[in-house]
Symmetry: C2
Amino acid sequence: MVNYPNGKFSNRSKIINYSRRGMSLEEDLNLTNKYYLEVNRAVIYKKPTPVRIVDVDYKSRSTAKITEAYFQSPSTTDYNGIYRGLYLDFEAKETSSKTSLVLAMIHPHQLEHMKKILQHQGIVFLIVRFSYHDETFLVFAKDLFEFISETKRKSIPYKWFKDKGILIPYNYQIKVDYLSVIDTYVFGGKI
Amino acid sequence: MVNYPNGKFSNRSKIINYSRRGMSLEEDLNLTNKYYLEVNRAVIYKKPTPVRIVDVDYKSRSTAKITEAYFQSPSTTDYNGIYRGLYLDFEAKETSSKTSLVLAMIHPHQLEHMKKILQHQGIVFLIVRFSYHDETFLVFAKDLFEFISETKRKSIPYKWFKDKGILIPYNYQIKVDYLSVIDTYVFGGKI
């Protein structure tokens, strides 16, 4: 907040934050990854949505039209790639809840996958946006698994994210600058 | 070939090879990656086919049916994952030609992607199966780019694969044991 000479506080930054609420975490991550790619900082992509194709209409040779297909549950996380020579892998979730993230939002296959990546020494984490609070956290997989093993809760409290998560900085060019967190915590030796 | 006491050669190995011709390279790679995953040797997946979804029928709540969608050209290679702590990335192509692989089979976006992975120090390569010869080769990206930069040819001759490629061993359990090639050439310091 800017402290104006007349002693009043401007709510401007708050307004700017609200204005970007229209963007989903997925859109923000796509822009972020595109930016990272353009400046050659990292090569990270979202995997396509897995779809089981049942029927295709080949009438028009140039554009085959899929006429029957079904969504499949993912075997892996949605995002992976390479950063500073290392394998990087994450899942992203957005919730409108004020108080918690429902664990069922993360598919068991995805948790299994994250565990395997951890074993193979990849950088693996979760990005969670609490849209109500307009905050996006990075949570390292090892912390996530610690939480899961220590509790029988079916959701992770917002407070836990405040404690164990790392708030991901936002800026106009890099919507969700999660690599700055990786720089500090993984390459900076904080983890 | 087995040298029988009567001096005749058995064609048995040839027959066995022929019998697996029904399997596509993609199927063989899926089985291979599944095996690597099961024995916890590596975590490597094929990315889902990219599809642009236009219309979905939500009539039945449990199974949303996609009724209009189109294939998209891929931005990246089809396969990636982690092996021995390193990022690994490849594209797989199968040809029925006796003499060459048409370069147009590899999408320009995929070549761009491979170049970027090379810059970021990932392990990146091409797996090419010549189904006529029943041979599957691994070609490292740097050799592929050397070929492309040195020639204006629109296809890569089979002979070049014999020279620059590494024949990938086949066995019953591991259909396309490409990680054994990575072990020898990348970790064994042959490259």
